[in-house]
């Protein structure tokens, strides 16, 4: 017997309801053309950068290994296109620093078939052995944090994982690539979940989807394995529902202890796109050479979801989707947590889930007023921090007090506080500065 009033759509406390702008959600995924030159960064993931194993002038085939991982917490890189290595040179990256890139001049008339590789026999593999095979395909977290997926799936020593969560929440406005992927590649998602569970040993898996994507829920339901070990859970549409902490709270009622990872409460969480790529590439033994990206924003003529080769420079990408000359601000990721890029020479990496272009009018800086103690930020913070107090302390540069008394370190920079602030105080921006300051002070002393 079901009581509708007892079955409230699960969610977390606080949070915000931004304008979602999910207009690209009905557009099927399309393939993007190859840029004449691809710039493949060696820092596609967090952890140690990959080590280039090609030299200038060498021909590479699409899918061929061009950089090897530096240890367990690192990933290999595969050539995103058939062509010739033109240079190894530093290029601007989204964080403003220069990063070493392998530059490939793409053969124009090439068919761009992926180099066939010898897949492993996966059926016998479990746990760490399977993780090592998974490392070879070079999949990093597709939600934006770019954690090497194989390393994330291995439970820490002594920890038991009981639930694998496939995160199909996609709470950031504008982004619809996960939504389209769940609609179009539901079977890949299921295969990915199968292998991921074999690595982490989770007996159960939950696919979490926000209730604004019910068509994806229906598609996934049709593809569920018959044994009932995977379930789908619809969660309320609210930002930041897709963050690990808030989603675990909504689904399982568990709180990840401060300063710990999800594995501390027996959970491993992966983005659905990460799992879909694992499910597609792992059986073939194929390297990760492209990903689905939402390209949108008011300054884009032809917004949509595109399969973009890794290393595509943003200049080429924006020209191709018809970025208007009014575009002033280009964001990698979503509008709530994404970064504006310093140069259109920044190439696409494995962690880019969206490219948004905003014009001048959308990006006019507002006037900043003093804090009026309205408490909106306190009522928005999903971690139940006190951004009001931290904001006042940040203005006085009392960074130490922020960390010691107000748990600054727990802030995961979702941006809800800055979003709601009627005084337009750059709260989360100040918190980032404070964290950066504290981190580097500790390094010195």
């Amino acid at each position: 017997m079901r009581f509708p009033f007892l079955n409230r759509t699960p969610t977390f406390d606080h949070g915000i309801h931004p304008l979602y702008h999910k207009e690209t959600g009905h557009l099927p995924i399309r393939r993007f053309p190859f840029a004449p030159k691809l710039y493949v960064s060696l820092e596609q993931h967090i952890g140690k950068p990959a080590i280039a194993i090609v030299r200038v002038g060498q021909e590479v085939l699409r899918g061929e290994l061009i950089a090897k991982p530096d240890g367990m917490f690192s990933l290999p890189i595969h050539a995103p296109a058939t062509g010739i290595i033109e240079a190894l040179e530093p290029m601007p990256s989204d964080n403003g620093e220069m990063e070493m890139c392998i530059v490939i001049r793409v053969y124009e008339a090439d068919t761009q078939e992926v180099q066939v590789r010898n897949p492993h026999d996966l059926e016998e593999l479990r746990g760490r052995e399977l993780a090592l095979v998974m490392q070879e395909i070079g999949v990093a977290g597709k939600g934006g944090a770019t954690f090497p997926t194989h390393a994330k799936l291995i439970p820490p020593a002594g920890k038991k994982i009981d639930t694998l969560i496939a995160n199909g929440v996609e709470c950031e406005p504008f982004l619809t690539c996960d939504h389209r992927l769940m609609l179009e590649r539901a079977n890949d998602v299921m295969t990915g979940i199968k292998y991921a569970r074999r690595v982490c040993g989770a007996p159960h898996a939950i696919i979490a989807v926000e209730d604004n994507k019910m068509d994806a829920v229906a598609t996934l339901e049709a593809a569920l394995p018959a044994d009932g070990s995977v379930s789908i859970q619809v969660v309320a549409t609210k930002y930041p529902q897709g963050a690990a902490e808030t989603l675990i709270k909504a689904l399982l009622g568990r709180e990840v202890p401060a300063g710990k990872r999800s594995s501390a409460v027996g959970v491993v969480m992966n983005n659905v796109m990460t799992l879909a790529y694992v499910g597609r590439l792992l059986p073939l033994g194929e390297g990760m050479t492209e990903r689905v990206i939402t390209i949108a924003g008011p300054s884009v003529e032809r917004p949509g979801n595109y399969i973009v080769p890794i290393g595509t420079p943003l200049r080429f990408l924006l020209e191709h989707v018809g970025a208007r000359s009014t575009a002033r601000e280009v964001i990698l990721g979503g509008p709530m947590m994404g970064t504006t890029i310093p140069s259109v020479d920044v190439p696409i990496t494995k962690g880019v889930c969206g490219v948004l272009a905003f014009g001048k009018k959308d990006a006019e800086p507002p006037q900043i007023y003093p804090c009026i103690h309205c408490g909106e930020c306190v009522n928005a913070c999903p971690k139940k921090l006190n951004p009001t107090q931290m904001g006042l302390l940040a203005a006085k540069r009392e960074y130490g007090v922020m960390a010691e008394q107000f748990m600054l370190g727990e802030c995961f920079e979702c941006g809800c506080c800055s979003y709601v602030c009627p005084s337009h105080i750059p709260l989360v921006q100040q918190f980032r500065v404070a964290k950066y300051f504290l981190k580097n002070r500790e390094k010195v002393t």
Partner: protein, 344 residues
């Protein structure tokens, strides 16, 4: 693309669209019906009072902020209108100017302006004139007098630094029946007569310019709460705790203590709970703190009314709540996600 300037900005790149001026402007709009009702009730004197106080507040704000024009945030306008609404309708204008100046200069600008004031500026102004001009601030005039749109109450144009003239004779000429010159609270306190709920709801009582119709104030507050320009929890906590306290007293002695409804609707409680206790700068920000703050104000109001020397306690109750706000905030920090204990 490349020829144009690229702008770098840190996330988030979206905003709710609420800004300080939008909030403040909407508060001002929501008070206009109350002002209109006040003018309709008391005529030219109330109009002159409201305009004078508001103009004084705006001028003071402008003069004390020479480097930046802070009138655009509308907060001084709120203080002015609110202060005007809490004064008796025939309050001498020169005293009103003093009240307006004190409210902005001492209540707000001295502490650093918007957001930095520990006390509600309008109430600071009100408290000052209450202490300075005890007679004028308790001199009430009848509502709906026949000539209210053709002549001013004699006290309105009292010469500066002079005592206002006695208006008993003037009141008699107005032909208003049964005017006692005392507020419902004073009549209850000194004569043990309760005004009817109907009169209190519709404003047919003696009171300050904007405290007459509890129903109208409530409706205006509801608009603000629905538009999310006001924290609905504070008025609910203030009114709820005041009603509960009054109810408890009435259980003890039903003949002496008035009904909770009388307590809610009389005096400045409705205006105070909705427009003054909710002043963002002077109320707590934590979810628990907001309720504690509201309950302190509600209970203190009733205690002052019942046992204090004054007939009205809302003003001092709110000022007390304001004073406790930093302390309340400090001890009601929300439990941070993923931590087992409350943080101090």
């Amino acid at each position: 693309m490349s020829k144009h300037r690229i702008e770098l900005r840190a996330a988030p790149h979206q905003h709710s669209g609420h800004s300080v001026p939008t909030i403040m402007r909407n508060v001002v709009y929501s008070m206009l019906p109350i002002c209109g009702f006040s003018v309709w009730q008391y005529g030219l004197s109330a109009l002159a009072l409201l305009l004078t106080v508001t103009a004084t507040c705006l001028t003071t704000e402008r003069l004390l902020n020479r480097n930046a024009n802070t009138l655009g945030d509308w907060s001084a306008a709120i203080t002015g209108i609110l202060l005007g609404l809490t004064l008796p309708p025939a309050f001498p204008l020169w005293m009103a100017i003093v009240a307006g100046f004190v409210a902005i200069a001492i209540g707000k600008a001295m502490f650093g302006g918007l957001g930095h004031n520990p006390f509600n500026p309008a109430l600071v102004g009100r408290a000052f004139v209450q202490a300075a001009f005890p007679v004028a601030i308790t001199t009430w005039v009848p509502a709906f007098s026949a000539n209210r749109f053709s002549e001013f109450v004699p006290t309105t144009f009292t010469a500066p630094l002079m005592m206002p003239p006695d208006i008993v004779g003037w009141v008699k000429q107005q032909g208003v029946d049964a005017f006692t010159g005392a507020t419902p609270l004073a009549r209850w306190k000194f004569e043990n007569v309760s005004a009817s709920a109907h009169d209190l709801l519709t404003g047919a009582v003696t009171a300050s310019a904007g405290e007459t119709s509890a129903l109208l104030i409530f409706a205006c507050g509801a608009y603000l709460a629905i538009r999310k320009f006001m924290d609905w929890r504070i008025p609910v906590a203030v009114l709820g705790s005041a009603a509960l306290t009054a109810w408890a007293f009435q259980l003890v002695d039903p003949t002496h203590y008035p009904t909770p409804l009388f307590v809610l609707l009389s005096g400045g409680l409705m205006l105070g709970a909705i427009y003054m206790a909710t002043d963002m700068a002077t109320s707590p920000v934590t979810p628990v703190g907001v309720w504690i703050y509201g309950v302190i104000i509600g209970v203190t109001t009733v205690i002052i009314r019942y046992f204090g020397g004054l007939t009205e306690g809302v003003m001092y109750a709110i000022l007390l709540g304001n004073a406790l706000t930093p302390l309340i905030d400090r001890y009601t920090q929300p439990r941070v996600y993923g931590t087992g204990k409350e943080k101090p």
